[in-house]
Symmetry: C2
């Protein structure tokens, strides 16, 4: 899929294809469609990041809160988005031992208790051991630092989701 | 459900209950949770409206674009959110004649072509005849006027969704 194909999309086609590049926040892609045409896919991503950066802290926290826990209740109940399911599986989170799952569950709980949003990490660029190390390390950050770090990870996830959509070639439901 | 029950919710419970008061935009409720505690449910709604008003025009357009067409493809394919399904049914949009459906389909298309977002109206406070009248009338507005009007309707829908949740009594999944 090239930039011309993207620029030719009406907002419904754009949302069908890019609606979940920010987890459960189609609002972001729907807002960014207003900025069409883009000169490159890089520019499209920059518009997404700019929109997120322009939100007040509560809005950035809101974006993080739309993300599922890693190996949490949505994975257990099968209610993850297709994208999260794939990312958590690739990071090995669908095949944790009981001990690892309990350890991650406890760390998720401690993290959410401290920060009031879930631990977000680009799982696709990580694996279960690194994830356990990172959540333990980031638990020591202060809240404003951790909000920025979480949003950085959201952007990495977005970039890989865009790449994944593009690699499929043809856009869906045009 | 009283305000104390709402104030006692962690963000996950809050999202389980209020995540879709703005159609397909859990980000809004997730952001507003940062403002807890509220002195009243009215104050909670005011926070939602304030967050929406603080968005740039592209963000407001984004909110409208997360709404389905009335009697459109999501209704036909059964992929509406539970709330939209109920609202469209109550407004009589699930029992249109072929002629009415075609007429509304054409008006939806003209509206989206002119404004680049879908026609949004608080269907629960309307019926199929009024909806057909309103979309024809509003098609003559200019884009900035119509963006404001659409967002006003989003707020009315939000208010009725909150009322509906409260009338159920006990919060879900607490």
């Amino acid at each position: 899929m090239d930039i011309q194909t993207v620029n030719d999309m009406n907002y419904e086609a754009f949302l069908d294809n890019f609606g979940n590049i920010i987890e459960k926040c189609p609002l972001v892609a729907a807002a960014v469609w207003s900025k069409l045409p883009f000169s490159s896919l890089h520019e499209m991503e920059e518009c997404v990041y700019e929109f997120i950066d322009s939100l007040p802290p509560s809005g950035k926290e809101g974006i993080l809160r739309c993300h599922p826990d890693l190996a949490g209740r949505e994975l257990a109940s099968g209610s993850l988005t297709m994208e999260s399911q794939k990312e958590q599986r690739q990071a090995g989170l669908t095949s944790l031992s009981t001990e690892e799952r309990e350890q991650l569950g406890l760390l998720n709980f401690q993290y959410k208790t401290k920060f009031a949003f879930p631990f977000v990490i680009c799982a696709k660029m990580s694996d279960k051991d690194k994830i356990l190390q990172e959540i333990s390390r980031r638990l020591r950050n202060d809240p404003s630092q951790e909000l920025l770090k979480g949003i950085e990870e959201v952007k990495k996830i977005c970039h890989l989701r865009v790449q994944d959509i593009l690699s499929k070639g043809l856009p869906t439901k045009l």
